[in-house]
């Protein structure tokens, strides 16, 4: 996998149609258990053929989790999108966000503002 965000990534990119279980778990927030793939208190059954040794078949995972899998054969990349039917916000807990801060000159953690009210204002130069 070439691009992941720690646990709970919404969209993930892969260079292969199979992924190491540990990598998938770290990136997606879903964990392979006896019941299938589990996150929080939800478990989704996974076809037995989805697991091949230490790897997962992305297409079968995508089907089980209702995530779209887009393949670009020309560049040999697979993108696993966010689950359909879920709302954008699954929880009201603000995500752990760490982004570069132009004013502070270093990485900024949103969680560092606990104890304050925060207006998070998204804008763009375009």
């Amino acid at each position: 996998m070439i691009c992941h965000r720690d646990g709970g990534a919404l969209t993930m990119l892969f260079q292969s149609p199979v992924v190491q279980i540990g990598e998938f778990e770290a990136a997606s927030g879903w964990h392979l258990q006896a019941e299938g793939l589990c996150r929080d208190d939800l478990c989704v059954p996974l076809p037995g053929s989805a697991r091949r040794g230490n790897e997962l078949d992305l297409a079968l995972v995508a089907g089980a989790l209702r995530m779209p899998l887009v393949h670009d054969a020309e560049v040999s990349l697979w993108a696993l999108g966010p689950p359909a039917a879920e709302r954008a916000l699954r929880t009201v807990q603000a995500p752990d966000l760490v982004l570069p801060d132009v004013v502070g000159g270093r990485s900024f953690e949103l969680a560092s503002l606990r104890g304050k009210k925060v207006l998070l204002l998204a804008w763009a130069s375009w």
């Binding site: 209702r66 982004l99 503002l113 207006l119 998070l120 763009a124 130069s125």
Partner: protein, 228 residues
């Protein structure tokens, strides 16, 4: 633009954090931040993580997060004051395309006074503010993601990755697919349009452009009505 708001409301325990949703990264956004004289955290989101996480489909959008790190208002249009472009007059020497744009922009529905009233109320009253929503309300205000929305997100991610790694031509089909699948996501559209024309005008790469797509939905619907 938000520095004055920060100065006004910081004594009440409110911090302003801006996030630039810009594939162009620091080089694209920093000049704007410097010109604004921002002294609040001014973050750069070159991978469009924030729009995906919060369900943001247009800018500017504000999200309120309380002292415990809980979202108490989901994304909604946020202007600190009535923007000057709403009152821009057509000048006699404006070329036709500028004239058309100015006239459409004047129709945008932006209620900055209402938004700022709510924000000030929350800054002062916190959890007791009538504008701080319950967790259930916050979640229910986000629409369930359709298969098309989810697929658009996958295409946009591929497009961004290819663009950032220098494969601009390979990115275009994915941006086009994202636009087709989730046409009300202006962030997907405007980010990609800006790569071929900074004014986001008609071009040979994408089917749409800002003015044409705005007219399709009606300028008054570009920013959803504030639901306070």
């Amino acid at each position: 633009m938000w520095q004055e708001v920060r100065e006004e409301l910081e004594p009440y325990g409110l911090e302003v954090v801006t996030v630039a949703l810009d594939t162009g990264g620091i080089s694209a956004a920093a000049p704007w931040i410097e010109r604004a004289g921002a002294r609040h955290p001014s973050l750069i989101d070159a991978a469009h993580v924030v729009d995906a996480l919060f369900g943001i489909v247009n800018v500017p959008s504000g999200v309120w997060i309380d002292e415990c790190g809980m979202i108490v208002r989901p994304p909604e249009t946020a202007y600190p004051r009535r923007p000057a472009f709403l009152d821009r007059e057509v000048k006699p020497d404006d070329p036709p395309h500028v004239r058309e744009r100015v006239l459409e922009i004047r129709k945008l529905r932006i209620d900055a006074d209402l938004y700022m009233h709510a924000l000030r109320d929350w800054a002062v009253h916190g959890a007791h503010s009538r504008y701080a929503l319950s967790p259930q309300e916050v979640i229910e205000r986000g629409r369930p993601r359709s298969v098309e929305d989810a697929t658009a997100a996958a295409h946009f991610e591929l497009g961004q990755h290819l663009f950032r790694t220098g494969r601009e031509a390979a990115a275009v089909p994915h941006f086009r697919a994202a636009h087709r699948l989730q046409p009300d996501n202006w962030t997907y559209k405007r980010q990609a349009w800006s790569f071929v024309d900074p004014t986001q005008g008609p071009n040979d790469v994408y089917d749409g452009d800002w003015l044409t797509d705005l007219r399709k939905i009606g300028a008054e619907n570009y920013y959803p009505r504030l639901h306070l």
